[in-house]
Amino acid sequence: MGHIQKVRAAAVALALAGALAACGDAGDDGDEGSDVEVQENAADEFDDGTRMKELADAGSVTIGVKFDQPGIGFKGATDDAPVGFDPEIGKILAADLGIAPEDITWKETISDNREPFLQNGTVDLVIASYSITDERRQVVGQAGPYYVTGQQLLVGTDSDIDSLDDVKGTEVCSVTGSTSLENIEAEGAKPRGFDTYSECVDQVLNGTVDAMTTDGAILLGYAAENPDQLKVVVEPFSEERYGVGYSIDAPEMCEWITETIEDAQDDGAWATAFEATLGQSGVETPDPPAMDECPAA
């Protein structure tokens, strides 16, 4: 009997919690990024048998993006869609297929699962601070770059670190198993690996570590969120060229991605997307990078 009473008490407690739950009102409706113009009758534009045609006919596309990088790709626990420069690029591409932003399925990717996602068809495109490298181009297609950045350091505004030499012996945070962490360890810093960049930012903010390091584009997003406490220092000491990943089985996508992004660069949609996201950190909108030639089909 005692147990039943306990269970009943627990049920009451739960019900109370539920009643309480009605009072809170946390979270704000973040800005939804820029608007895009959705192409009408897009399916007619593509040849039969291409992946673009299939997607346009289906009227939906699945895109892998980061969920934990403000400025690049970020999604709160209760948000419907991620916000950031990468999702903006995704919307531009989808619009060209006649797919409205609300018909895009966003999938969270982390550094380790981007190739598998493309290979097994979990996603149609990966736009997730995805550096173009020769190794990756062996297994997946990468069109771009739509943005060029490089590894930099994020430190507190009162930090003495302003050159790469200064990191020797300091504690520098990045994501466990990332190339950035490897590079900074090679520079003589003590590597402090955490699971996501946001945890690293907290460690910098509360003074547990001296700096964090990864691509400048990601760091700028964090600096923009806490301009009084954080700054990005050091000239980029690597070159990361972000590309759009696609399945190697659909090489026709390369020309389409390249042309669509080039059009967006020309008509200002690229700049608008930048200003609405990474540009919030106060950096000037850079000149869009020149896109690579697609491999001959």
Binding site: E171, T176, E182, R192, G193, Q203, N206, G207, T208
Partner: protein
């Protein structure tokens, strides 16, 4: 595999860090856990309740969350900001493991049958003699297997430190898998390091048990 051989010093450093984490956490947990057990069997009701509450709370919380408290939440409260990462790791591991050490020790003391103590008292041994030559020796023997289980689990648990800033074996494994296609080989090599540690504790426990059994 070549990567591992070329950078064997990194692998050994990681192994050393795992050993440090395990040994230091093991010692702290043994001390703190035994104190907790003393509270839980002692005569003071408030401390008994406090010990019981501590064990119930900690044992039902995932170790990962204990790490989150120590490494991610505490610095926001202004704690552990300048504390070395190794020390924070030992704190997190010990807070958690001592609850299990406490239970192991307590079960060991309870495992000694009341009749033994009664008999000792009946033949006129004092409290010190009863504890020293009858109860405790048997309690230690009974504690060895569960305590070894706890220490083995603890050693494996140190892997959780990998994404809390400590480049121990698991963190170093991800460093190597990032650059290599030989994921399976790397995994097996790093797994072997853990197996060596587990087997060492295991062998130590069996040795102790055998020695004390012979003394009977």
């Amino acid at each position: 595999m070549d990567d591992l051989l070329d950078q064997y010093d990194l692998v050994l450093q990681a192994f050393w860090l795992t050993i440090q984490l395990s040994v230091l956490s093991g010692l702290c947990s043994l001390v703190f856990g035994t104190l907790l057990a003393a509270l839980r069997v002692g005569p003071i009701s408030v401390l008994r309740a406090a010990g019981t509450t501590y064990v119930a709370l900690v044992r039902n919380t995932p170790l990962l969350l204990v790490f989150v408290f120590v490494f991610i939440a505490a610095p926001n409260l202004g704690w552990f900001v300048g504390t070395p990462f190794l020390v924070k790791g030992v704190i997190a591991m010990s807070v958690y493991t001592s609850a299990f050490v406490c239970e192991a020790v307590r079960s060991g003391v309870n495992a000694v049958s009341v009749g033994q103590a009664e008999a000792a008292r009946a033949i006129g041994l004092t409290f010190t003699q009863t504890m020293g030559s009858v109860v405790l020796p048997q309690a230690f023997r009974a504690v060895v297997p569960p305590l070894a289980s706890v220490l083995i689990a603890m050693t494996k648990n140190t892997s959780i430190a990998a994404v809390f800033g400590l480049m121990e074996l698991t963190g170093r494994m991800r460093y190597f898998t990032n650059n290599s296609a030989d994921d399976t080989v790397i995994f097996l090599v790093f797994a072997a390091f853990y197996i060596v540690l587990v087997e060492l504790i295991s062998a130590g426990a069996i040795g102790l048990e055998r020695r004390w059994r012979a003394a009977r």
